[in-house]
Amino acid sequence: MLQFIAKRLVSALLTLLLVSVLTFSLAHLAGDPAIAVAGKEASAEDIARIRAYYGFDRPIVEQYLAWCAKAVTGDFGMSYHYQQPVSLMLATRLPITLWLGVASLVFALVLSLPLGILAAIRRGSLVDRLCLFLAVVGQAMPTFWLALLMIVFFSLTLQWLPVSGNSSWQNFVMPTIALGYFATPALMRLTRAGMIDALESDYIRTAWAKGLRPFSVLFKHALRNVMIPIVSVSAVQLGAMLAGSIVVEQIFALQGIGWLGYDATVRSDLPVVQAITLIIAAFYVFLTLAADLINAALDPRIRIA
């Protein structure tokens, strides 16, 4: 087990390292960062002063190492546009996106687990076919179109929910649905396939033969086997949601990390874009690592591999 954890940790750290190199070089591919800070009308002296101030005149490797050393301590430099520490900007935005991501994942699981289990139990029935149909339709629905349709229907026509902002829980209802439904088809198919596999296996037949109650057979015995792929995919989906929150947050003016990422890209505010990319990647790496460890705890066979 220890060896397994160590191996996974090393590969997670290496991944983050490569991501940091890529993120850093992206900013320097974008042209002279000094001009980006100073603006296009700035004089040559101004640009030279800014270049010296931000250290853009030093060798690129040195700049990268300096950036990394600071990033590890949580210092991502100053925003070019807002002239505030990037870490401070992130700290105020991050909770909103995390809440949105977690709520969306819960929404997706609450929808997909029961439907997937039901479809597996009543395989080939109307419920099953309806679930598969919903999965196919859901996968084709563009997130931002659904978001706009919900605004037209729930905010403008019915006037039930506020169009935008982040002042109350009501502001989170539509973004949660818009972000969460996209993960639902994959999770539901996975649950259904896993449950069908489990229900046909010998140990479930044994469980039925022992006369266990259906609840116990379905949830304690069969579902446990389904949970392993669900945990992995949920982790990946949560990571994808944090990244995908850009469109949803932009539409609903929910001012989280995604909104900030959009805003920073529009303004070419590179330190902010770099920091957000790195943080979302770090979350993804952390989530997949956590999922692997949870699965190793759920299924001892994984620890050896």
């Binding site: 991944t15 991501v19 931002f144 850009i246 890209t265 979302i280 993804y284």
Partner: protein, 295 residues
């Protein structure tokens, strides 16, 4: 006893057949819609009633046919610049298909190559390629794509290249495991024993056997590329005005949300229909090629 087993086998194959037939309807429906869209895209100059770029500010925001007071000259109405909505929708199909197919080809080439190499050689090469795949998965596609588009300049080809360089991960993962399976087959061992080069084995023995998987992943990535392009264009980081892209049409429809929400319905429905058709077609294909539930 033997009779029982025979009947079970018969029942199983009957059920499989029924399932295939049902899925085939989805392949048929999806394929038919796709063919229609391809036809519309190719014949756009013949089908579109107007020039999709021609503005007529005296005829702005005319309602479409399913509303009262529509103009028989503009069946789907006109947009905020007075451009014929039907013509823009028809030309938009070209952009959508061009993006879907080009991104699929670029990412398919990258992903299949990586997957073949990792699956066939294993060892160090596999480790390095898996590491690259994991890194790619950790990068937030949408944000990085936005940033890269800013660097390359927002344009049709900028969007295609960016997405092509990002959506190869599923190809690589799927082809890698398909290659691992194929490489352990007897015909590969036989080819090795008669002295075939690795290059020959990869291209002539293994590639044809993983092509099914590549095609299935291709449909998934094509649908994904279309959705991403629409979202990028929607936020202003993709195809630029005045090119008729469905995502861009949705972006412009946004300012008329309050009074002319129909501007939103038409391009969105087109986008939804095309992606649905690709998904249905892919699902049907997956079943026809006998590749199980998920690739």
């Amino acid at each position: 006893m033997g009779d029982d087993a025979g009947r079970t086998a018969e029942l199983v194959s009957a059920r499989r057949f029924a399932r295939r037939a049902r899925r085939n309807t989805s392949a048929l429906v999806g394929g038919a819609i796709l063919l229609a869209v391809v036809f519309i895209a190719l014949a756009a100059p013949l089908l579109a009633p107007y020039d999709p770029y021609a503005q007529d500010l005296s005829r702005r925001l005319l309602p479409p046919i399913f509303f009262s007071g529509y103009d028989p000259d503009h069946l789907l109405g006109t947009d905020g610049f007075g451009r014929d909505y039907l013509s823009r929708l028809i030309y938009g199909a070209r952009i959508t298909l061009l993006i879907g197919v080009s991104v699929m080809v670029i990412s398919g080439l990258i992903g299949t190559t990586l997957g073949l190499l990792a699956g066939y050689y294993g060892g160090r090469i596999d480790q390095v390629i898996m590491f690259v795949i994991n890194t790619r998965l950790a990068l937030p596609v949408f944000l990085v794509a936005m940033a890269v588009v800013v660097v390359l300049g927002a344009s049709l080809w900028g969007t295609i290249i960016t997405l092509g360089l990002f959506l190869w991960d599923r190809f690589a993962v799927v082809v890698r495991s398909a290659t691992q399976q194929a490489a352990s087959q007897d015909y590969v061992t036989a080819a090795k024993s008669i002295g075939c080069t690795n290059r020959f084995i990869l291209l002539n023995e293994i590639l044809p056997n993983v092509m099914n998987a590549v095609v299935i992943v291709g449909t998934i990535e094509m649908a994904y590329a279309i959705l991403l392009e629409a979202a990028l264009s929607f936020l202003g980081f993709g195809v630029q005005e005045p090119t008729p892209s469905w995502g861009l049409m949705l972006a412009q429809a946004r300012q008329y949300l309050f009074f002319d929400a129909w501007l939103l319905y038409i391009p969105g429905a087109a986008l939804f229909l095309v992606v649905l058709a690709i998904n249905l077609f892919g699902d049907g294909l997956r079943d026809l090629l006998g590749l199980g539930e998920e690739p």
